[in-house]
């Protein structure tokens, strides 16, 4: 019984620690913006982006990290991106799938403090 209790406490502690380190950010992509377009996190935080589109396919490209995913069209689900920046600084993200006349202005930034 004691062993069982110990295992449960350890599992709870582990889950709690994992929750602290992961920040879930819901991003809405739409011609030609991300909402939010600025994401601030503390160093060492793992960010889980859950990105949906209001219209067409968009891309989510973080050049510094080599991450590039396609966001499904409206009503076709979400894209999940897990990003753990190791160094403080600014990590720009941008749309990598041509989405319209203002495609090149679709950008945002992750600020790691």
């Amino acid at each position: 019984m004691k062993r069982l209790l110990l295992v449960l406490v350890a599992a709870a502690a582990t889950a709690s620690d994992a929750g602290k380190d992961i920040k879930v950010v819901h991003v809405l992509a739409e011609r030609f913006v991300y909402v939010p377009s600025v994401v601030k996190v503390k160093r060492g935080t793992t960010i889980e982006f859950r990105i949906t589109s209001e219209d067409t396919n968009h891309g989510f490209h973080i050049p510094k990290a080599g991450i590039n995913v396609i966001i499904p069209k409206r009503g076709r689900g979400e894209a999940k991106v897990i990003f753990k920046p190791t160094e403080p600084g600014e990590y720009a993200f941008e749309c990598s799938k041509a989405c319209g006349a203002g495609h090149t202005q679709m950008r945002g930034v992750i600020i790691v403090e």
Binding site: L28, S37, E54, G66, G100, A101, G102
Partner: protein
């Protein structure tokens, strides 16, 4: 492959050896194997310079053929996003009730967009549009327009530089004009005769994201040409469209947009510039101001826009143009337009298709205020009701229908009722 070659070579060597003492034969083979290993090492050492970055290899005048290392996954992704091609089209059927002309099928727009990323910080984007399918010299036919062709230099999220052929950052439609992104077969009247979309010209400017949902653009662009303004379509004819645009005194234009709340977009924009470079005696200043908003609440979508234009020295402008052409163009001192649109997405979310029903009320007057001595033409004080539906078999394909009634304040002109069908896609 190397292993196979080595194996075959070994077989050949074995076959070539004369029959002798097996131990000696083994020793001989070991020596040969050592010699081969040494030779292989030398070959590997010789190959090492070819594994340097591609830039170094490209600088070599005549590079020897070298084995190509498989690219890393990151490089592959970068290559895929370096250049892009996309496009859209607008295909319409318009029939105005009571008019003698039959219905018109018009391939209104066929547009291709090309982009290229020179680096992560230097990017090119362009939009080439063919309007009305056919272009013939010296004929009143379609148009081939280079609506965008600019370079972006990315410095900081809040400060970037753009130069080339650009869209004027004014209004709801001018920068978001892909057919699936608005309801109605034709663009709103306010975005046609008050704000002359597609409004584009050469220029340069800065833009960026200020944080907290605020983004801005501020450009210096080629001005409008006042000699081509009109009573019916306001500023529309005055767009220079980057064709050897006169830029003695560039116009200044900008937009501030707020996107701090999900599904809400608020924007305000302006344009101001001198427009009389084609006239000796008068140089009217044009001021454009507009604000707009969009909001989505559940299955409902709302959007609205207000736009106002002021033309200084309009009396002098009318007189100068009358001296040139013999006709008084009756250009107004003030133009104004606004609209409100409500749309409801009526199919359940689980359906793979989407259907939006909408209505829009527009009010637009290109003769709102006149200079002293000039009378407004009431037929250009107009309102429009547009009812329709947009069916999306998939989010990038829109099949549109609307019924439009345009009324004017003049008793001499009847209301125009039209049925419009359209098809548009984006890829």
């Amino acid at each position: 492959m190397r292993r196979l070659s080595f194996f075959l070579f070994l077989l050949g060597v074995t076959a070539a050896l004369p029959a002798q003492d097996p131990y000696k034969r083994i020793e001989e083979l070991e020596k040969r194997v050592q010699a081969l290993e040494e030779r292989l090492r030398q070959m590997e050492a010789a190959k090492t310079p070819a594994a340097e970055p591609p830039r170094a290899a490209a600088a070599t005048p005549a590079p020897a053929p070298a084995p190509v290392a498989p690219p890393a996954p990151v490089e592959t992704a970068a290559a895929e996003i370096r250049s892009s091609l996309s496009g859209y089209m607008d295909f319409h059927y318009n029939k105005t009730r009571g008019e003698l002309s039959p219905g018109v099928l018009d391939f209104h727009r066929f547009v291709l967009l090309f982009g290229h990323n020179f680096t992560d910080r230097i990017k090119f984007w362009s939009e080439l549009e063919l309007e009305h399918a056919l272009v013939e010299g010296r004929e009143e036919k379609g148009e081939l327009e280079l609506e965008q062709a600019y370079l972006d230099f990315l410095v900081k999220p809040w400060l970037n530089v753009r130069g080339g052929m650009m869209l004027t950052p004014v209004g709801l439609i001018n920068e978001r004009h892909e057919p699936p992104s608005f309801h109605g077969v034709e663009r709103p009247f306010v975005d046609t005769v008050i704000l002359p979309s597609t409004w584009f010209d050469s220029g340069a400017g800065i833009f960026g994201d200020l944080g907290r949902g605020l983004a801005y653009k501020l450009y210096a662009m080629a001005p409008l040409d006042a000699t081509r303004f009109s009573a019916e379509e306001g500023l529309r004819g005055g767009r220079q469209k980057g064709f050897q645009s006169v830029t003695e005194r560039p116009a200044i234009t900008g937009r501030l947009e707020y996107r701090g709340v999900r599904r809400l977009a608020l924007g305000a924009s302006f344009w101001r510039g001198r427009t009389g470079f084609g006239l000796a005696s008068v140089n009217p200043r044009v001021r454009v101001f507009e604000f707009d908003g969009r909001y989505r609440l559940g299955r409902f979508a709302f959007r609205g826009q207000y736009a106002q234009v002021g033309v200084s020295q309009s009396a002098e402008l009318n007189r100068a143009l009358q001296r040139q052409t013999g006709v008084n163009p009756n250009i107004a001192r003030s133009l104004r337009g606004f609209y409100w649109e409500t749309a409801a997405h009526v199919l359940p979310r689980r359906f793979p298709h989407d259907l939006a029903l909408f209505w829009r009320y527009e009010n637009f007057d290109t003769q709102r205020r006149m200079a002293a001595g000039f009378l407004p033409l009431k037929q250009f004080d107009r309102s429009a009701w547009v009812w329709g539906a947009t069916y999306y078999p998939e989010p990038d394909v829109a099949i549109k229908f609307d019924y439009t009634i345009v009324r004017s304040q003049s008793a001499l002109f009847r209301s125009l009722h039209s049925v419009n069908l359209g098809m548009g896609w984006w890829f």
